[in-house]
Structures are given as structure tokens and as C-alpha cells.
């Protein structure tokens, strides 16, 4: 009886906590300035990437250091549309003019249409991920070898993007946007709208990921992580699951890229290079690997700290942020959310444990080591 009470209470607490987060996101425009709201919107986009990364790394055990590419491809697809929209019909984007290109390259043509651009910005990363997954997972390439391949992918794509300045904008990237679907990107109401879309995308991605990691499918994913051979003996094909989940994760990164470019107004190869790709993994590591809320919160928290610290201490913020990373990695192997869950477990049936969901048990179990 007591147990049931606790379960009910926990459920109520969880629901309340979710409601509070959603309400907070919904009300943010009321107490944040345009600039801060825009920043928050960008962080929410990062949160979507973090969810996708947690899905493959935290739950399935695939470490990708190449998600910057999927994010970047998504962003570039949308940026190409926005650039053509800003340039106007019959004219060439500015960087093509100064690079000596005389007519619009064929692969730019489809990006005249918003719908096509949006679709491609999610589908292209998924396709690339599927290809990479097809050639690696089926050949049982995993662990550090897979991770190295993702890094190689980053190097290849970034070098290509920088080298083809006439078609991609080179290191400058693509910027100078004005309108999306006829709405001015500068107007506050469009900015508000984009913020809400980002918030909705994050919530939607969260629900999607949660659905994937719960139930039998999620169990298989975790089995891929913890005992691939055993899973194979049971008649499952881990490669299919890996390919699927990696593709979904890439799609989420592409979606995040779209939201990013709409709100930030620039995409450049430096945003998809090795360092940002590793940073994305750091968000998940610090927020709490294997906890969806933790991963998303990690992305928000790290980026808010980054912005805040660099504004307050422009000369040495990098040391503070670096220190934070070291502290978390050394002392909190399960990230900030692991700490919360631990504290929650101490308080018996408290909020933290409940919110950590499936991982809560593992954390409690660890105490008996």
C-alpha cells in the first residue's frame, strides 16, 4: 500500500515537473528581452541535438563525434533557401558573384522552395547517417573505430565546404538573410514565433526519444549497448537497430540546424567542425548521459553558462568553462543529472530519482558497490 502511494506520488511529482518546464518555456517571452529569447531559442535547438546524441550514445552505446556535420547539413540546407530568398529572383548570392560564378549551380535550384529545403535539411543528414551506418554497423565496426570514422567524416565534409567557396561560401559560411516565407526575420513577432517553434521541436523530440527508449525497443537499444553478442544470439540484428537509431539521431541534428540558422542568421563550417562536434557530446556528458532530460538540460545549461560567463568575464571565461568540464568529468561521471538523481535517491522517492527514470535504479544500485 505504502509502495503504491509512493508510486502515485512520484508520478504526480513527475507530471508537475514536466508541466512546470513546459509552462516556463511558454512564458519565457514575457520576461526575457528579444535578445535573450533569441539566445534561449538557440539553446533549445542545441537541446534537440543533445537529445539525438543521448539516444545513440547514452542508450545505444554509439559515440558519434561527427554530429556537427548532420547539424551543419541541416543548417546549410535552410541557409541556402534563406540566401536565395534574400538575393531575389534572377540574381546570384553575393559570395558567388565575388568568386566568379556566373549562373546558379544546379544543386542550388531546389532550395528556392521552403518546403524542399526543410525536407532536405532533415532527410539529407538521415541519408548520410544511413549510408555511414550501413557500411559500418553491418560490418560490425563499433566502439572507437566507429568514432574515428565519424571524425573522418567531419574532416572530409568541412574540407570540402571550405574548398568549394564559390558554391558554399567557404569559411565565411552563408549569412545575410532577410525573409522566411515572406516574413521578415528581423520582426519581433517572427522571432517569438521561431522561439515557440524551437520549444515545440524540443518537446516533440523529447517525446519521440522517450517513446523510443521506453518499452521493448528501448530495451533492445540498451542491450545493443551492454551486450551486443548476446543480443545477436537471441536472434536480433543489432546492426538494424543501430542504423535506425543513428539515422533518427542525425535527423534530429538536422532539424536543430534548421532552427539554429533561422534564429542565429549564419552558418559556417566552423559550426560543424571537430570542436563543435565534440562540444555537442560534452553537453550530453555533463548534463547526464543516459537521461534524456539531463542531455537537453546539459545543452541549455552549458550554453547559457558559456554566454553568461563570456559576457561577465570576457578575458578568462574559457578557464572557468574548462574548469567546469574537468570537475564534472572527474567527480560526476554521470553528469549533473546523475548527481541530482543521487541526491533524489537519498531523499527516498524524491523528485530526482523519479525524473531520472530508468537510470534511477542503476544509480541506486551503484551505492551497494
Amino acid at each position: 500500500m505504502l509502495l503504491k502511494n509512493a508510486t502515485v506520488r512520484r508520478k504526480i511529482v513527475i507530471t508537475l515537473a514536466y508541466a512546470a518546464v513546459v509552462a516556463l518555456l511558454a512564458c519565457a517571452p514575457m520576461f526575457l528581452s528579444d535578445f535573450r529569447l533569441n539566445l534561449l531559442g538557440k539553446f533549445l535547438a542545441y537541446g534537440v541535438v543533445a537529445l539525438g546524441l543521448d539516444l545513440i550514445w547514452g542508450y545505444t552505446g554509439i559515440l558519434s563525434l561527427g554530429h556537427g556535420i548532420f547539424f551543419g547539413i541541416g543548417a546549410y540546407c535552410m541557409a541556402m533557401y534563406l540566401k536565395l530568398e534574400a538575393t531575389g529572383a534572377g540574381r546570384l548570392p553575393d559570395f558567388m558573384q565575388w568568386s566568379g560564378v556566373t549562373s546558379l549551380p544546379w544543386f542550388w535550384e531546389p532550395f528556392r522552395f521552403f518546403g524542399v529545403a526543410l525536407l532536405l535539411s532533415v532527410l539529407l543528414p538521415m541519408l548520410l547517417a544511413l549510408l555511414l551506418g550501413f557500411f559500418t554497423f553491418r560490418n560490425r565496426i563499433r566502439g572507437v573505430y566507429f568514432t574515428i570514422l565519424t571524425q573522418a567524416l567531419v574532416l572530409i565534409v568541412v574540407t570540402l565546404m571550405i574548398g568549394q567557396q564559390a558554391y558554399t561560401g567557404g569559411t565565411n559560411g552563408i549569412t545575410g538573410f532577410r525573409h522566411v516565407l515572406g516574413f521578415s526575420l528581423a520582426s519581433p513577432s517572427v522571432k517569438n514565433g521561431l522561439y515557440y517553434i524551437s520549444a515545440a521541436a524540443l518537446v516533440g523530440s523529447f517525446l519521440l526519444c522517450r517513446r523510443l527508449v521506453r518499452g521493448p525497443f528501448g530495451k533492445v537499444l540498451q542491450a545493443v549497448r551492454d551486450g551486443q553478442n548476446r543480443l545477436r544470439f537471441l536472434g536480433y540484428d543489432p546492426a538494424k537497430y543501430q542504423m535506425f537509431v543513428f539515422t533518427v539521431s542525425a535527423g534530429l541534428a538536422g532539424l536543430a540546424g534548421v532552427l539554429f540558422v533561422l534564429q542565429v542568421g549564419i552558418i559556417s563550417p566552423s559550426m560543424m567542425d571537430i570542436v563543435p562536434s565534440i562540444e555537442m557530446v560534452l553537453w550530453v556528458a555533463i548534463g547526464g548521459r543516459g537521461s534524456l532530460i539531463g542531455a537537453a538540460a546539459g545543452a541549455l545549461l552549458i550554453n547559457a553558462s558559456k554566454s553568461g560567463l563570456s559576457e561577465t568575464y570576457p578575458d578568462f571565461w574559457t578557464f572557468l568553462l574548462g574548469g567546469l568540464f574537468i570537475v564534472v568529468v572527474v567527480f560526476l561521471p554521470k553528469g549533473l543529472f546523475g548527481l541530482l538523481a543521487r541526491l533524489g535517491a537519498r531523499m527516498k522517492g524524491g523528485l530526482g530519482d523519479a525524473m531520472a527514470g530508468g537510470r534511477g535504479r542503476a544509480v541506486v544500485g551503484e551505492d551497494h558497490r
Partner: protein, 433 residues
């Protein structure tokens, strides 16, 4: 047991510390207008935690933004420009400020990352409501900030020579455009050093655009292209390229490499036994500051094109160099972008005083045709494209790390970012942006 407890304590303490840190950040990113007093930063008066919501010209001071990379690969170059801008602000403040008010610099870090430049520019304009911003170095950072300044009708002073093909109504360009640096340098080389050019550059927009212009110029003036090579930014192995250069036997290597690559290139050139009397190189991104990194003895004899050298003999320059060394150390050097950053602050001050206001449109109107006795000589703002009239100069590196001026254009050259007054450049600009 005891150990476990200590560990627990440690974790709790850490957690509290992290929350504090994060709170500090979150506080900053969350509070505007509401509670300016609550921000956690206290170390620097210049930082952004100053009261929000106040208009730039009210109360005790006028806020201006300083936005350079203080971290990342570009920090090594941009920090000294920031220093020069802060020095100009200090000098102006000591002399009574602008419109009777002190200038309050708000320093931000662009972190060598273009979207960060855009973010910080937006923050300076909307949160801090600065009257103007001095900042940027790479073309990419300028391109990233441009839409923000145009959208919010801000004012940016950009202090570095660049590839031209741009005139934003919200940017003043205090460095050279191509017709004040590259074009005269190529003309001078064709006349004095030979017709056969080898183009070597880092792989990004400035070298590619510069080389496109040089190729058109060579074609029109009877020059010859011996080769064209790009290396990724930060590339340090030039052995292959040096043997290609040896095989091509050019009269001139026109060098648009940027950053660390220059150190490697010149050292390896020297190691290969190619000294400046055997091969002429002309660099457009190697100034006094870079000469320190390359090594003055390695660079000695090589050529460079700028609008300013520390060695310029004028009372304005002596005052500037002495003040810079007195403030930041005798081992520091001044160079072209440092001087252009310093000049930008004084030009803005002059425009504000002429306009009697810090309002962007009034300042822009007042800036038209404005003149200033800068360390490089008299500069004038072109009212149409908001670039500066500048004297083009060619210098030769000396064993002491300074440059000896070999040639200058005499009169200040009218800025022409789209090369509209050059017949051979007709096909390049494609149309105005």
C-alpha cells in the same frame, strides 16, 4: 566510511559551486531590465553587467562596444587591436571625454567564432545599447556581424585591411580596401621586380578574392601567372609548395597566407636556402606583430604592403608608439590594424562631436568627409562608401623587426572597394551587394 562521507561532502560542495557558477551565467542571460543590480560579476567595471535599459548617452557615460576575439586562434592578433582601442578611449576620457561624457567600453569576446560575433554584436546593441562598436578582424567575422548591424541600425568600425566588394551603410572600414594595398603593390612589383607571379594563400575568402583581382590585373598589364596554391588555415608544411615554387621560377611570390602559416613558410623558405635576394616575396598579412613571431632575422629583406608602419617618422606616430609602449610594455610593437583600430575611435569621437549626438544616422552624416591626423598621416572618410582615404606603402623587413619604407603613393588613395575606376576589374564585382 569516513572517506565516503568526505567524498559525499565534496560532491555536494561541488554541486553548490556549479550551481553558483551556472546561476551567475543564467542570471546574466536571464535578467534584463528587471534587476540590473543582481548580476554576479564584479571583477571588471568594463564588463557587461552594467545597468541595462539605460540609453547610451544618458547619465555618467557613453557606452561603446569592443568586440574582438580574446580567445581562440585569432586572439593573438585581435587582443593588440583591442588594447589600442582601449588606449584611445582612455586618452579621450583623460582629455574630458566626448560631449562632456566619459566613454565606457563594454568588452566582449568573439572567441574566433563567427556566430559568436553575431551573438555578441546583438547583445551589445540591444542589451547594452552601445552607441557604436569597434571590432572584428577576419572577413568572416565582419560578414557575420553585418546583418545584425544593418537590422538594428548599429554602427561598426572595422579596423583591418580586407578584400573589398562590400559597402554596408552601417560599417566604417578603417583598414585598406584592395585598391589601397594589393592593387598598388602588384603595379609596383610589375614595374620593379618582374612579370612572373606565383600566388600563395590560405584557403579562405580574403586570399581567394585577392588572387582573383590580382589575376585580372596581371592579365590586363602583361603579367604572367606561374602558379596558384592554397593551404588550409594553420597549415605548416610548405616543403612541397617550396619545391613547386623553385620549379616554377617566378619573379615574385605574392603571399596572402594568414596567421601561423607565415611562420612556417618563411622559416622553411630560409631552411631551403632561398633568401630574399634570390626570391622576392610580397606579403599583405605580415606586419610588425607577425614579424615578431616569424623572427626578424628570418623575415629580413622580404617585402610587405600596408598603409602604416611603426617606423613612420611623424609627431603623431611618435606619440602613438610611445603611448602604446608606455601602456603595454616596451617589447610591444604597433602595426597597421592596431593603428586603424586606434584611429577608428578618434574618428568616431570627431563625428560624434560634429553631430552633437551619438545617434547613428547623425554620426554617419557628420562623418562624411571628416579628416583626422592619424599616426599613418592624414586620413579622410569617404562619404559614399565609408572607407578611408589612405596612403599605400611598401616596406622591406629589417633585421630589427621593423619595416623600411621603399615606396609610397604620395597622396592618399581614394577608396574604391568595387574597383569601379579600374577598367580591367569590370568583370569582377558582378554587381553591387
Amino acid at each position: 566510511m569516513k572517506r565516503k562521507r568526505t567524498k559525499r561532502f565534496g560532491i555536494l560542495a561541488l554541486g553548490a559551486g556549479l550551481l553558483l557558477l551556472a546561476g551567475c551565467g543564467a542570471n546574466n542571460s536571464a535578467n534584463n531590465g528587471a534587476s540590473p543590480s543582481a548580476s554576479g560579476g564584479s571583477s571588471q567595471p568594463a564588463s557587461s553587467s552594467a545597468a541595462s535599459g539605460s540609453p547610451s548617452a544618458s547619465g555618467d557615460g557613453i557606452k561603446v562596444g569592443i568586440l574582438h576575439s580574446l580567445s581562440g586562434t585569432m586572439a593573438i592578433s585581435e587582443v593588440s587591436v583591442r588594447d589600442a582601442e582601449l588606449m584611445a578611449i582612455d586618452e579621450i576620457n583623460a582629455a574630458g571625454g566626448v560631449l562632456g561624457k566619459q566613454i565606457v567600453p563594454v568588452v566582449e569576446d568573439g572567441a574566433s567564432d563567427w556566430p559568436t560575433f553575431a551573438e555578441k554584436a546583438r547583445k551589445l546593441l540591444t542589451d547594452d545599447k552601445v552607441a557604436t562598436v569597434f571590432g572584428g578582424w577576419t572577413s568572416a567575422s565582419r560578414k557575420a556581424m553585418l546583418p545584425v548591424f544593418e537590422e538594428l541600425n548599429g554602427l561598426l568600425w572595422y579596423p583591418v585591411q580586407y578584400e573589398g566588394m562590400e559597402k554596408s551603410p552601417n560599417i566604417f572600414y578603417t583598414g585598406a580596401t584592395t585598391n589601397q594595398q594589393i592593387v598598388p603593390a602588384v603595379d609596383w612589383l610589375l614595374e620593379n621586380k618582374g612579370k612572373k607571379f606565383y600566388l600563395l594563400g590560405s584557403d579562405y575568402v580574403f586570399p581567394r578574392t585577392a588572387n582573383m583581382i590580382i589575376k585580372a590585373q596581371l592579365k590586363a598589364k602583361g603579367g604572367e601567372l606561374a602558379g596558384e596554391e592554397y593551404t588550409p588555415l594553420g597549415h605548416t608544411d610548405f616543403s612541397t609548395i617550396i619545391s613547386k615554387i623553385q620549379a616554377a621560377k617566378p619573379d615574385v611570390v605574392f603571399n596572402t597566407l594568414n596567421g601561423d602559416s607565415n611562420v612556417a613558410f618563411f622559416k622553411q623558405l630560409k631552411d631551403a636556402g632561398i633568401t630574399s635576394d634570390k626570391l622576392t616575396t610580397m606579403s599583405v598579412s605580415v606586419a610588425e606583430e607577425e614579424a615578431r613571431g616569424i623572427g626578424a632575422d628570418v623575415l629580413a629583406g622580404h617585402l610587405t604592403a600596408w598603409n602604416y608602419f611603426q617606423s613612420i617618422d611623424s609627431p603623431e606616430n611618435k606619440k602613438f608608439v610611445d603611448a602604446y609602449k608606455a601602456k603595454y610594455g616596451a617589447d610591444r610593437v604597433t602595426d597597421d590594424p592596431i593603428e586603424a583600430g586606434y584611429t577608428a575611435v578618434y574618428l568616431w569621437k570627431a563625428a560624434v562631436e560634429k553631430a552633437g549626438s551619438t545617434d547613428v544616422d547623425k554620426v554617419k552624416e557628420a562623418a562624411k568627409g571628416l579628416e583626422f591626423d592619424a599616426p599613418e598621416g592624414k586620413v579622410k572618410i569617404d562619404g559614399d562608401n565609408q572607407h578611408l582615404y589612405k596612403v599605400a606603402r611598401i616596406g622591406e623587413a629589417q633585421p630589427d623587426g621593423q619595416f623600411k619604407e621603399l615606396w609610397n603613393s604620395g597622396d592618399a588613395v581614394k577608396p574604391d572597394p568595387y574597383l569601379e575606376t579600374y577598367d580591367w576589374a569590370a568583370g569582377l564585382s558582378g554587381g553591387n551587394g
